[in-house]
């Protein structure tokens, strides 16, 4: 776990937390109810959020069913990790957990183009579901996941092996 606040708790051998540290902690604590509200909605509405996206990708996008399934799986996964990252207030969580995995799967199954469309539809869905302030809570982790997925420079292609 790479919880951002970990650094605060790492140093009791050096000193007590100062006013800035405590203010960081207190900001996080006071943001928890809102984070939990967004988290609960995402959890309870998981299928409701994603089903219209799947339909749109298949009907308007005209993508094959297998490809839509693959992309929707990616979307669900990203949303779950982003929700957790938001709860922890830690964008790095998305990177730590998805790096070395999701970009490779995107490349192996060649879902880059459809994933792009999925993210656009997802953003639209989220802005219907949440207030702008709530969207801002989840946005940084989603954007991190999106750039991670589309950046496959360092990865070794497995696509040719399949």
């Amino acid at each position: 776990m790479t919880f951002k606040l970990d650094t605060l708790f790492d140093e009791p051998d050096k000193h007590y937390l100062d006013a800035n540290d405590l203010s960081t902690l207190s900001q996080y604590v006071s943001s928890i109810p809102e984070r939990m509200a967004v988290y609960r909605t995402l959890r309870d509405q998981e299928v409701a959020v994603m089903q219209p996206i799947a339909d749109a990708l298949q009907q308007q996008g005209g993508h094959a069913e297998a490809l839509v399934e693959r992309s929707v799986r990616n979307g669900l996964m990203v949303l779950r990790y982003a929700a957790m990252a938001m709860l922890l207030d830690d964008d790095a969580f998305v990177e730590d957990r998805l790096q070395g995995w999701l970009p490779e799967m995107v490349k192996a199954y060649e879902t880059q183009a459809i994933d792009q469309q999925l993210f656009q539809l997802l953003n639209r869905q989220l802005s219907k579901l949440f207030s702008p302030a709530q969207v801002n809570l989840i946005k940084p982790s989603l954007e991190k996941a999106q750039s991670l997925m589309l950046d496959t420079r360092e990865t070794v292609t497995l696509a040719g092996l399949l």
Binding site: M1, V47, M50, E69, R97
Partner: protein
């Protein structure tokens, strides 16, 4: 139509099983490091690795390469079985149902999380019957005696057995470049024994990986 609810039948979306912060755990009060299934992990100090190389060299001389290669094969056999078992448990389905992409990506992540460096597959020569394997930042060849000969015998053994079991064909593995002789990484070629026969002589005469691959491909 794609049904999202059906994609989530048991609510699970398997991801990177070997993610480092999830995989390495421990019962610290007992003094144990463990993986997420509770199997024991062990941190090997670098001086111990160096001592093994040096002890083997002292007692067995040239044969130490063969000893390490055989240790690698032994290790690989067990590693493959355990790796497959862990993945099948995690995905809750027989391994045969798992796609090659998930399997090989898990293998690469597993390697990395154990601290054995980064392992990559090179499929450039796949159509000619060769599979390349690159290992970067290997702790094994970093601790090995530095010289003119490749020293990745442990890795050669484990890679050979791993892919032999994966493909169901009796593959051999030869090492063409090695950090112990100042190359950038450890490179291995997997293929059938008779087709890899010329490799050892070419490596001994100091030829580089690319040149060796050219010769192998040309000889058909």
């Amino acid at each position: 139509m794609v049904s999202v609810a059906d994609l989530l039948t048991d609510g699970r979306l398997p991801g990177n099983y070997f993610a480092q912060d999830l995989y390495v755990r421990g019962s610290t009060e007992l003094g144990l490091l463990e993986n997420r299934r509770g199997d024991r992990l062990l941190a090997i100090p670098n001086p111990l690795l160096q001592a093994i190389y040096s002890g083997l060299d002292k007692e067995t001389g040239q044969a130490s390469h063969l000893v390490l290669y055989n240790c690698g094969r032994w290790w690989g056999k067990n590693f493959y079985a355990r790796f497959c078992e862990e993945l099948a448990d995690y995905y809750k389905q027989p391994l045969a149902n798992l796609s090659m992409a998930e399997f090989l990506q898990s293998f690469q992540q597993c390697w990395k999380t154990h601290g054995w460096g980064q392992i990559h597959l090179d499929i450039t020569y796949r159509d000619r019957g060769f599979l390349g394997v690159e290992i970067w930042h290997s702790p094994f060849t970093a601790a090995a005696p530095q010289g003119q000969k490749p020293a990745g015998d442990l890795e050669r053994g484990i890679v050979e057995i791993f892919f032999t079991q994966l493909t169901g064909r009796e593959l051999r593995c030869a090492q063409t470049s090695c950090t112990a002789k100042s190359d950038d990484c450890n490179r291995f070629i997997l293929g059938l024994e008779k087709r890899l026969a010329p490799v050892d002589a070419m490596v001994a005469s100091g030829q580089a990986h690319q040149a060796i691959m050219q010769t192998l491909v040309q000889q058909g």
